[in-house]
Symmetry: C3
Amino acid sequence: MAKKETTKSLGDEMYARCHDLFPICRSITGNGVRETLKYLKKILSDINIHEVPSGTKAFDWNVPNEWNINDAYVADESGNRIIDFKKNNLHIVGYSEPVDNILTLEELQKHLYSLPDQPDAIPYITSYYERRWGFCLSENQRKQLKQQKYRVKIDSTLEPGHLTYGEIILPGKSEREILLSTYICHPSMANNELSGPVVTLALAQWLSSLSKRKYTYRIVFVPETIGSIVYLSRHLEKMKKNTVAGYVITCIGDNRSYSYLASRGGNTLSDRVARHVLSYHDSNYKSYSYLERGSDERQFCSAGINLPVCSIMRTKYGCYPEYHTSLDDMSFISPDGLEGGYQVIKKCLQVLEANEVYKMKVNCEPQLGKRGLFPTIGTKKTTKNICDMMNFIAYADGSNDLLSIAEKTNVYAGDLIPVIKKLKNTDLV
Amino acid sequence: MAKKETTKSLGDEMYARCHDLFPICRSITGNGVRETLKYLKKILSDINIHEVPSGTKAFDWNVPNEWNINDAYVADESGNRIIDFKKNNLHIVGYSEPVDNILTLEELQKHLYSLPDQPDAIPYITSYYERRWGFCLSENQRKQLKQQKYRVKIDSTLEPGHLTYGEIILPGKSEREILLSTYICHPSMANNELSGPVVTLALAQWLSSLSKRKYTYRIVFVPETIGSIVYLSRHLEKMKKNTVAGYVITCIGDNRSYSYLASRGGNTLSDRVARHVLSYHDSNYKSYSYLERGSDERQFCSAGINLPVCSIMRTKYGCYPEYHTSLDDMSFISPDGLEGGYQVIKKCLQVLEANEVYKMKVNCEPQLGKRGLFPTIGTKKTTKNICDMMNFIAYADGSNDLLSIAEKTNVYAGDLIPVIKKLKNTDLV
Amino acid sequence: MAKKETTKSLGDEMYARCHDLFPICRSITGNGVRETLKYLKKILSDINIHEVPSGTKAFDWNVPNEWNINDAYVADESGNRIIDFKKNNLHIVGYSEPVDNILTLEELQKHLYSLPDQPDAIPYITSYYERRWGFCLSENQRKQLKQQKYRVKIDSTLEPGHLTYGEIILPGKSEREILLSTYICHPSMANNELSGPVVTLALAQWLSSLSKRKYTYRIVFVPETIGSIVYLSRHLEKMKKNTVAGYVITCIGDNRSYSYLASRGGNTLSDRVARHVLSYHDSNYKSYSYLERGSDERQFCSAGINLPVCSIMRTKYGCYPEYHTSLDDMSFISPDGLEGGYQVIKKCLQVLEANEVYKMKVNCEPQLGKRGLFPTIGTKKTTKNICDMMNFIAYADGSNDLLSIAEKTNVYAGDLIPVIKKLKNTDLV
């Protein structure tokens, strides 16, 4: 019971953090990102916050101007704010330039975005690299707009400033690294945004608390696309040299399903571990090919970068109707959803830490009986525990790593960790 | 409409050429072969015609004597020609020696060939390497033969002469070659004979008209088996060194299906391209293993030769009941059938020409928006065109060729050719 | 008919040998093993019998004390032997220490073993490495035991002595070896014991009678587990260097099915040959993975040893209810069962002996007609014999061994042996 309560409270805690972060208006640059990172740093001071000036070159890209917004609305002739950024920050097209104007309905319509198929939802729209302005609203609301003059006001700034990101480096025995990457650039949406940084933070807290780590952990909180490109442009050499495995963490807070999206190669260590862990954690998990990608694996796995990175999610972006709309709110995620996502990635990291090539120190099968590891009377059957141990011994030949052994012997790699301990204690492996 | 008519007329043109060539009595040597090649050369003067003397050694074989025939018949007691070579050249067993004799029905029967299962068909029979004579006729006709004396007359010659073949070499930027091979040794049959040289000639005309070719094309019109053996014995070193891919072209004029017969290895570049193109051209195409081989791939893929050659057909030899009988006539092939066969092989050659290993010049995804290759507003969906381009970019990592990229990203390689052009124009690849 | 009778008589002969050996009380050491080996040596004097002293170290193990037993029984108050070793040697737990005592039923029960699910069967139980004593009996008999005093007497010795095994080395042209291993340590059971040594002996007789052998044959009759470990510890270097293939021969006398259990790697030459032969011998054969192992492949395939050894059986140990009980008696095996097992392994050895990489001496297809190997008249069909030969010729390219050729051309490798002979006779291969 005690354990169950602990488990619950982690989910609850993560959910509460999502709740705190939900109202902030984030974009790929600006104060929303800074505020979000400051909140995370208050919880785990290991996060370092970096600022990269607008205009900085990063491969084929340049850091864009910084965007900040104070207020935005469309008011009717009576002065009522009928579309109001203060009510829901999705109402404004991300990176909208400042505007203050009076428009006819017809003129206004060209700047409005809604979803005819989801008439209650406000869509999430951005225009980072082309100066534009616009408002998003539900289709139902749009239909009620009448012929009249509208006051349109966007109090935003779009000026040279910085791109902001967070980074945690947790050193391990080895310089070889595991990468965890999540993003912090979406406004008020719960699954496709907050679940990612909040679960990643909880994993960082757990990793930070370990007395020893085999691998060094590189954990980054970046704006999607431009942020990972900027980050890669600054750390490419080291990351190419050291990265053993990595996961993009996003859409990890709902409770509908588990999902895995392959790396470009499809069979890196990250992929093998993710598939193995998921197949034991929830054999109904959904598997997506790299052709269905859509987050920062696009950069990490790109032709010139080619890091072993795949994605682990609950319900994948684009695969739930609430995606990129105001319906992806706090009711869509849950403590259990966040907790499940956290556990799966934690298991992956545990398997990665234990994953080595093992080799038996004796020829033939060892005599387990004299070590108290085998029954002394020969009958018709053997137990699963003995079976797992005998199979581990059979395949620990100096060529198979833990994961291979687990896959070849049809057992969860995590269940072999205590077996290995017993064999190490009796100096057999 | 214009385009459709053009397409039609190529099929019609090829059909008309088959019609012209149909009556000629071809065999593995002799004037029928010469006449056929002369007809083709009148259309495309690039064809060079070669003569190889009887007795010339070619690996384990020798060029046989040349066979020519003027007339042959079986006449009844009243002098009526009841089996008459002039009516259908299938009536004579190929390479029949000269005869002039009077026989009883019983004696005659030993020299007659018919098909009890196909009582209306005259079979196609040959005896190249053992001196024999014989007549072929329908089972129905055979049943009507009465007890009487028969005059048997075969006015043929079987003497030292030559084996004749045609060859077109179309040089490309590279010395590396693509082989197209077809045969010209069957008498009056349409699909299993004339479709092959006629489609191959049309392909040669198209290739000859191209302003640039990456590869050199070696296009041969040979008598089956002995002709390809002789040809290989003369060009083996160069062909082994240079051949990148090759196709045997036969049975390519009917409209029932498309067929592919694998090379011996089964996974050469020729095979990969053929399967890829066919799967997009007609996903119901039939796939045959090398165990079902029967034409000159037997020589090209033989143990000591081992060229990357497979076959593309409409309905495969042996897989249609009309095969090797008088029923394989001009009504069995059609302009559409010929045209479809032509198009498939043309597509294969286009893909081969474009097939290279591509490598992106930038790290991470390039910023397509600033080049006008990507929408500047971020929404929920992307189009197939953008998808194809993004996928090409993702997999163009210097290790995948065009075909691999197409296969990995589930797109027809031919559709990527304009994508590559755009990326080259913006200096990204 | 003559042939059928010959076949029959080998099965009968093997069955008679099982019958002779059945009553002997074998264990992993002791006079039962010696008596068994002496019986085999009388038939084939090539067997050498070796004695290894108790206490000898073998990898992680030590040769245990030798166990011998003269008599053992449980008697009731009236002196009736109600459990009597002399009636069935399965009544005694293997390696029971000497006892002479009076016990209550309750005390006795702790030393009794029966099978509630198989109430008529006496189970087979051993305790080699922990000093114990015990009796086995049927569940039905156990239920009839009444509250009274029981006299328990076990007249056994458990003292330093020897472990005994048999070995046959049949030299071949090459030093490279094929291993056949069987065991001789079970008391009165027919399939899971006697079928193994008796079939192995018949194979040794056949191999010994051959005028030439390509490979050297190492044929061992050892107590299971400790025997193979001891044997390996004495011959490891040579066996690792020379072993080309090997089979564990056990449970090979019943007539229910054929079974194959993979080596640890799963795709050694032994595995490929076994699967190929079995698929033609009985396509319904059962295939087991190494995870279902249970005999001396556990040692031969262990991580540090890693020999190419798999198992061929009729019905696998553990997969028939009679297994390791008194029901595995002479009625469970049959002459036909033994004969079938013998034939399968004989075929495997024949294929192994013929298995080489073949290479055609001519380029292109050879002209078979002039050598009398091909019909001289060309028609629509070819026979299976010609097909097999043409396919062999096509794939004999210096890279495929016989087995590969057979697998690629869908023919039983044994059927290609006469084809190879014809091609050798005409100097084509």
